[in-house]
Symmetry: C3
């Protein structure tokens, strides 16, 4: 901001730096790029948390695939304990593998997406990449849960992974350049 005084009165010239303006409006829901991130990120957070509940649901449904020895104690959750309940159960373990796959992809997306917003991409690019990632991961979950062929699962994994890599490279180039 600059001020120039002329004659007996004041002429005021306001020239705020571009940078400051940008930063001030970047991380607010009024910024459509940030709102895009907030929507994609909250959906992905719900995906991670929901996967935990899918594991719980499956453990309770088949009363098997328990996580830890003390879960064999009789109680409200486990009324008829049996040592076999600690064995690997594919129905339950599938949900855990889906969860692990989420953890290998989603936290990196969550951190990368915020950096991407701060690197100020176009709204269209942000929407394509972020909604693309979210959609891909949701389809990947359906594909994994229903045991579709490896090629189908790999395709959706690949799209999601490449999106995060593109976003990370975008941030890296913007930060180094």
């Amino acid at each position: 901001m600059e001020f120039h005084e002329t004659n007996g009165f004041t002429k005021i010239t306001v020239t705020e730096a571009h940078t400051t303006e940008e930063t001030m409006t970047t991380l607010t829901l009024h910024n459509p790029v940030f709102a895009t991130y907030a929507i994609a990120a909250s959906l992905m957070i719900l995906k991670i948390m929901g996967q935990g509940w899918m594991t719980v649901y499956r453990m309770l449904k088949v009363s098997s695939g328990w996580a830890t020895p003390e879960d064999l104690r009789p109680g409200l959750i486990n009324r008829a304990p049996d040592p076999a309940q600690l064995e690997l159960n594919d129905y339950v373990d599938r949900s855990r593998r889906m969860h692990r796959n989420d953890l290998e992809n989603i936290p990196a997306f969550l951190a990368c997406g915020l950096l991407f917003v701060l690197a100020q991409p176009s709204l269209l690019l942000a929407q394509v990449l972020m909604y693309g990632f979210a959609a891909t991961r949701l389809v990947h979950a359906v594909v994994y849960a229903t045991g579709q062929p490896h090629e189908v699962r790999a395709t959706f994994y690949t799209i999601g992974s490449v999106i995060v890599i593109v976003m990370a490279l975008y941030v890296l180039v913007a930060a180094v350049g």
Copy 2:
């Protein structure tokens, strides 16, 4: 910011947009909502990192539960190698399961908490949810480490998970609406 000139002197009217003011003061430790997040988040980060050290401590204590074949080579860490050291050891694996449970919950909280701050909740709501999450996860760790009944562990897992889900829905509604 607007400037109105009147008569021979200058009348200045400052009317900064509400949005700008909000954003400018959101992500600073002077904002008590952000400070709440910073405290809860740093505690949870210490929890994750500490869990890694609990696994190291337990591996060294029982000299078992090693992670990978080359750990059977004799050295400062392993003076009397034995192939059985690579077998699953519940004392060590319990710490790894606790770590995995952390990874299924805490990174989602860390990303969600920042978005939650930017969605500008009341300080009370932020404190209840964020300190509630941190407290719940710390109690969950004690419950898991000491092998308490499944019902107790499940209760604290549930509270923490529901808190993150509530925060994510809050952000989603604020971003879409």
Copy 3:
């Protein structure tokens, strides 16, 4: 910002609050501390995503270590299915263990690094800790992939872990104090 009127003309005094100035310039790539974080974080995000591709590469190379039963169906990825392909394969599992080790460390760093930037450390401290973390994790990956002795792997794990702990304590002290 304050405005003082004197005589027939206007004297303008600009005294923006320190807080506002800081926040406005913190999360922009023009801030070298934030740029340091953006570089270290995007490298670590690429590390996580790359680890997934190392697992894929190794699975395809040895056609083994498959993740889930349906991967035994014949298809483009698996032309000669064999139940033994689902067994643990150390070459593939090593990449998964590296991935898990990343997940136990990097997401915590990503969240902690952003908080650390907002706690406004010196540029030198930020560079030492953040580039130190990134370098340590990259060396850790090489050490793990090539099966170096436990002592070497443990050293680089320790440095990276201590860096995140130091950053988290820095944030905690700044937020509480």
